[in-house]
Symmetry: D2
Subunit: 310 residues, 4 copies
Amino acid sequence: MVIMTSSLTFEPVLERIAEEIEHTPGRGRPADYIPALAAGDPRRFGMAVAEVDGTVYGVGDWREPFSTQSVTKVFTLALDLAREGDELWAHVGREPSGNAFNSLVQLEYEDGIPRNPFINAGALVVTDRLLTRTGDAAGTLLDFLRTESGNGALDFDLEVAASETAHGDRNAALAHFMASYGNIHNPVPLLLDQYFKQCSVRASCADLALATAFLARHGVRADGSRLFTRSQAKQVNAVMLTCGTYDAAGDFAYRVGLPGKSGVGGGIVAVVPGRCTLCVWSPGLDDRGNSVAGVAALDRFTTLTGLSVF
Amino acid sequence: MVIMTSSLTFEPVLERIAEEIEHTPGRGRPADYIPALAAGDPRRFGMAVAEVDGTVYGVGDWREPFSTQSVTKVFTLALDLAREGDELWAHVGREPSGNAFNSLVQLEYEDGIPRNPFINAGALVVTDRLLTRTGDAAGTLLDFLRTESGNGALDFDLEVAASETAHGDRNAALAHFMASYGNIHNPVPLLLDQYFKQCSVRASCADLALATAFLARHGVRADGSRLFTRSQAKQVNAVMLTCGTYDAAGDFAYRVGLPGKSGVGGGIVAVVPGRCTLCVWSPGLDDRGNSVAGVAALDRFTTLTGLSVF
Amino acid sequence: MVIMTSSLTFEPVLERIAEEIEHTPGRGRPADYIPALAAGDPRRFGMAVAEVDGTVYGVGDWREPFSTQSVTKVFTLALDLAREGDELWAHVGREPSGNAFNSLVQLEYEDGIPRNPFINAGALVVTDRLLTRTGDAAGTLLDFLRTESGNGALDFDLEVAASETAHGDRNAALAHFMASYGNIHNPVPLLLDQYFKQCSVRASCADLALATAFLARHGVRADGSRLFTRSQAKQVNAVMLTCGTYDAAGDFAYRVGLPGKSGVGGGIVAVVPGRCTLCVWSPGLDDRGNSVAGVAALDRFTTLTGLSVF
Amino acid sequence: MVIMTSSLTFEPVLERIAEEIEHTPGRGRPADYIPALAAGDPRRFGMAVAEVDGTVYGVGDWREPFSTQSVTKVFTLALDLAREGDELWAHVGREPSGNAFNSLVQLEYEDGIPRNPFINAGALVVTDRLLTRTGDAAGTLLDFLRTESGNGALDFDLEVAASETAHGDRNAALAHFMASYGNIHNPVPLLLDQYFKQCSVRASCADLALATAFLARHGVRADGSRLFTRSQAKQVNAVMLTCGTYDAAGDFAYRVGLPGKSGVGGGIVAVVPGRCTLCVWSPGLDDRGNSVAGVAALDRFTTLTGLSVF
């Protein structure tokens, strides 16, 4: 049942979703592999919508900063793609990866080329390449997020980054493994430092919805300049839909039907091409690493508005 | 560049695409694992569009019957889903499968539950379940295709089915393997007979575009009755987008940006939700089993019309 | 501590081992995948020694027939090797297989060539080849066992064979999978019938110790004729040591230090080259499918006699 | 055909083998992943025998130092086992690993516990543990080799070690991966430094045959003291036989029939328990990393002397 597609804003829809979520039991559990994330409260919930004209509004904790984590992989991908274009795809694929279990064997089977830019191995490759091009991948990302969100106070959380580094053996293994195939070009410790800084950025639903809006605008940034081509924007959306939510991409497409990218901090961004972007946050995760309340809220959004791409 | 989205028909677009394809070198090679397919001529090309109102038109060999093969998996899925609903998803997943290489180990790792209904293992499970419910899965499929296409002459190609059976050891292995986990309920030889009959149906682009139109109509059949719910139609589209083109689903989403399902006979169906369906055919395949000219034609279609879901 | 290596017989050693085993708690559990095996009593224990001169003696239930199961794979291997020689090794490897988990992916990775003749896939290949050469692999095996043991009453247990067939989907999957690579030449149902008949043979420790003695005699049969060359006997022993006890071959070599082959009926045969053969039986299995009391008894035997090959 | 088992020395056998090898075409290719090894000349060949009484003799280049590489894994294993006993086996298995392809997925499947101490992952665990216990694993190894061989001039080749470090990404990946499971306890860079130093030791066939003799003496060192128990010596021999020659352990057992350990420098040590040890060297490798002439020479040795354990 579609209740609204033509109103000026989605505010009533957000209010209704927040109310439903409020009364939904079962919120999952926060990520627990580093202490900073384990303290997340699954009762927290925020949701923001950014229209393509830059209007932003939300409900709940939509202005509360949280740890963006893998949500930043979307921006790093776009920033690198804008610089090197299709050359990137010789070094990272754009196919879904199947389940996490296969990650290493697939990497071995495919000669150190990760399946897509959103699994950790692929994001490490993208960061490595952006680092080579810019000299500071994490700084380039932060500048972009600050500019697009209009929030100059956005910053890294160096405590979180340090904690990730201390638990970073698996990412170090991935990076060294790809380096053995010649697919990593910077020293692994430097790369990991950049990678963990990127993941540590703290931002709110409002910030991230605004920062993602260039994808709803087919590549046009907040200041009207173009980050990359319309075709590239479409491509990033396609990769988000097929690979953006870990091993639940099929389920997310099935339930939500929008390009989306999640992070273990509990955030998810989603794109309604040509119309708006969404960011939802709630720290409780399901067993595949996606925010339980976040996915539920997006599911309700597309059901109520009919704005699924399908 | 979008040249047309509001005209009454897409005929000029199809003409233009056919002309471009005509002049494109490199058409891939026909499937060669059975003689009947190996004889396919890569120079053949047809494309049809069916509007949601039932209008159909096309270019090239769009009325030439060809071997539908895995394209039929869409219909079998829809027909079973219409009967048993979400219960199906306890027996087959809806996540992309990663590369073909992993198919067996994933099946083993996940206790005989295939990743999605479009890999062979998953299609065998769907056929097995439809067979249990109807007593004749292949017949149920054929009836549906005849009715939706309005072409009562559609039929199995029993010579092709026999040839598939003679080369069917790998599918027999998959079926027995899943049976060892209790996920196949009919005798394997009977199941394979039904499965290969389904794949053998011969139909044209016109037939298949019309037969797929219920997905563009959100579940409504040609006679106005409803096959299944709007939500189920959306779900089938989502599974097509993430899993419909073998190990090239990401690439297909990236280039074409529509839900689609391909077959090794060289056919591909695609859905523009709420608007129309497409079917393209050309027997030459790329190394991942998708029609080279078919994917190129769909790529051009969404580029020229802007009708990608992204 | 070596207590005896030069006495005329090992009878005192067997008596001591039987007494120790009697007082050892924890006997594992019988195989439960078919009813006929699930009824096995873990308290049963028998052990026999056959000297190279044909003398045989034992303790406990050493004359009690039991289901030989995979122990027969040694004889099938020897019988086929005697017929086709090294040609066999183009169709089955002789390397350990790593853990069971990898069986299917290894088979896929290595183009349908199983790692060794003692995993099920490899034994199916050997049976298929012996079947092609003799027209009746199971009958050839039974004749050999009867002749070498001097026990003309040995026979198949057709009830067990039927039960195996009814639970045979995994072996059917392996056979069809290898057939898809051209590595199985008989119809799969016929092959499985032969395979399960072989496994169903009932024999006692006395029978099996005698039937294995040709390996301790470097290839010479009970009647003084030669089954195959000294070098081939050494090769079979080597394959037994590295691959004979499922995924516990390393552990068996480490603890027992003799070529051995186990079955899920609880039997194990072992070879002391140039000296004697052993067969032990107790139905309780460990989690890798080897008889708990059987391995313990062989471990004690080599410790007490110093007759490990290491 | 056995020509000699009771003579005082094996010198005539060695002479004959050297002559045969001299006239055998096809010597394989030296390892080429680091320049220092790539320079090896496949025409070089040496072979030494050390009797349990300490007598040593040889043919060809048996006094020429070469890069020991993985041959040192035997000594590191023995040195750690002597210190911590069976506790080691909670951290590394003793089962063959199947083919190299599976190494990473097996490590993942088995929670960071490598299959055996002779694959790289397992040797890293053993070195890590010896390092924790001694503070200097490489130094402990070097002392042992010098003492047992009586050659105080043995030393690391720091140029080779540096070259290995520069190409060490894959080992770094393994170490970090196991560290993520808590199975590595020292900093990865320190561990790799120790590991590559161990592998870099240069020694001759004479040195290594003497240094290995404690295994033929069931644990007794050159000075008559005991390194570890008779049972532990038997266990190391068993692990060598089942896991000592990469993915050719089955083939090595089949052809040679002795516990052995090879290295990519072209050296192989082998043990005839209770009798003697052998070391052979020739830099040309087969496609599984074992010296072509080395395996051939050992094969001839056991054929000529009948001293296979089988």
